[in-house]
Symmetry: C2
Subunit: 355 residues, 2 copies
């Protein structure tokens, strides 16, 4: 029996979570394992209900679960609120509370979806299989921030801070992951200008000494944003900071065709993990059975793999997704000519049937 | 007579500057105007000669010129130096010293170079004509930075700071530019997380009230990095901060095919301007007559337009570049099948002949 905190969230969150839970139910009966779901409100829906992005008692409940499966939070409805009351604050609190410092985002190009990539055939034909390892609970998104008035001119600041121990632990995750892949780490920073990037680079080089079998290179973030478009096949593992990782992992998602396909795992010490799709709440299509549930379903697969040690079940889900794609089923976001257009629920059902 | 500070810099800098000066010489004789060139060492070459990225007396000399034309600075040779002795420090000092707060980077897709874009034909066929307006002397690249040790753990920090007056003046540049284009400004920030971004957004909305004829929208930076790849035709003017602009303008450069084609102007109050190609020093191809001089030549054209009010001469250069491309001449970086491969010097010569 595994206790899972389930956070549907806002926008398309509840719809895609619903399908992921159906998939987990199928896994449950097929693999003879029981899951207990603890439903938690977080994000905009929690603001509406309780006036806060996530209640402290709910955060405590989440911490008592083995893993958390999250849909997405946020939306224009709550955009006018002050910073500490934004739905996104729930994500920061969850990541901080669970101390999940390593965000793993695979960006994989499926053969069947090559046409969905915005890149030219000759570039995608070289293949795309990138794992972005993003530091998740440090840097500018968590550093000191505020406002001040100087000579009548209002100013606002945010602080990018990294300590060596923070960089060390995320670098280790990247090198360990690279060992199981193509043994190549590209560390992305802005060391030609930022002091925090220089400390980042020094520390990554120190950690690299323990991984002589892994090839390390450094790249400036502005160059990385170009190289991802120019030749994504050059990358294996991209190791980077919270903010740069936010930008680059989304760019990496786009070049493989659809952000609706991409899962993520956020890992801390031990087996604790927070699993969520990369995409947002997409309020424009919420509640219309249009959302692609695959990213959330694949996030559930990552949960089975990293938190529950259920490699076979994880593979069964991933394989079921591949079969659905091979059979030509597509949600709107990945639809191309001559494919079969399906909604959120039907896509979930087809994947369940393939498990 | 116009006094121009000329900073060849490092790597391919001197080669591409040489061709731009030949083009200016041609303009000089054709349009009956005299240019005086004041050569200044800055970047790695200045470190080698004087031990500093740029000498104070040289910075003063630059300030006395009407405009500055710069190649590129930096290279792996100086990467090991402490932050304040990096070649890039020269750029920051120049930008800060000249108070050029607005960096204008056009990313235009030339019909002849459509094949060089890494994006699919159906995307580039919609056209790409983006002007990135990047704040250049504020934000994290100039904010307080340093190191500190806490409980034996070394940390480093950088600070993103923006005041309302800084945001106001750069926003005005973007709205003014948009008025002369498609009347559309996309302001890019991370207002869902950063306090500085929230101040940015508020201020941009205040400025927008004076431009009711210009359409303003806001976009998060991670989404912008995706949208640039997915559908660049949606953008007209992108207004953003120093750091986000560094990343996004390089990405915008890549999607139009070659960074070797793209010029930039950095403007302050009055007619003062710093003109430079977007590309770096490319040390791997330096001194081999392989670099594309077009970005620097087009930067010289921007100088004629913005600092010297010589619109006709600027157009003559831009037209000469188009003719060279139409006739099939290409440097290595933009070469495609059935074109005529030329070196740096020959490309410069052909463009001169077309003026
Ligand atoms: Mg993001
Ligand atoms: Mg750059």
């Amino acid at each position: 029996m595994h206790r899972i905190a389930v956070i549907p969230g806002d926008g398309i969150g509840p719809e895609v979570i619903e399908q992921a839970l159906l998939v987990l139910d199928k896994v449950s009966s097929k693999f003879g394992v029981r899951f207990e779901y603890i439903f938690i409100d977080a994000g905009g829906c929690a603001i509406d209900k309780y006036g806060v992005p996530i209640r402290d008692e709910d955060l405590e409940l989440v911490k008592k679960c083995e893993a958390t499966l999250l849909g997405a939070v946020g939306g224009p409805k709550w955009d006018g609120l002050p910073g500490n009351l934004r739905p996104e604050q729930a994500l920061l609190k969850l990541r901080g509370g669970l101390k999940v410092y390593a965000n793993l985002r695979p960006a994989v190009l499926y053969d069947e979806l090559k046409d969905s990539s915005p890149l030219k055939k000759e570039i995608v034909d070289r293949g795309i299989d990138i794992l972005v390892v993003r530091e998740l609970i440090g840097g500018m998104y968590f550093g000191p921030k505020g406002r001040e008035v100087k000579d009548g001119d209002e100013a606002a600041y945010d602080t990018e801070v990294y300590s060596k121990s923070e960089v060390r632990r995320i670098a280790k995750v990247a090198f360990e992951a690279a060992r199981k892949r193509k043994k190549k780490v590209t560390s992305v920073d802005k060391a030609n200008i930022l002091e925090s990037s220089r400390l980042w680079r020094e520390t990554v080089e120190e950690v690299a000494k323990n991984y002589p079998d892994v090839e390390l290179s450094h790249m400036y973030v502005d160059n990385a944003s170009m190289q991802l478009v120019k030749d994504p096949s050059q990358f294996d593992v991209i190791l980077t900071s919270n903010m740069f990782g936010d930008i680059l992992s989304d760019e990496a998602s786009m070049i493989v065709g659809s952000i609706g396909m991409l899962a993520s795992a956020s890992l801390g010490e031990g087996k604790i993990g927070l699993y969520e799709p990369i995409h947002g709440t997409a309020p424009d299509i919420a509640g219309q059975d249009l959302a692609n549930p695959i990213a959330t379903i694949l996030s559930a697969a990552m949960m089975l793999r990293y938190s529950f040690n259920m490699e076979d079940a994880a593979k069964a889900i991933e394989n079921a997704v591949k079969i659905a794609l091979k059979e030509g089923y597509r949600t709107r976001d990945i639809y191309t000519e001559n494919c079969k257009l399906v909604g959120t629920k039907q896509m979930g059902k087809i994947i369940c049937e393939n498990i």
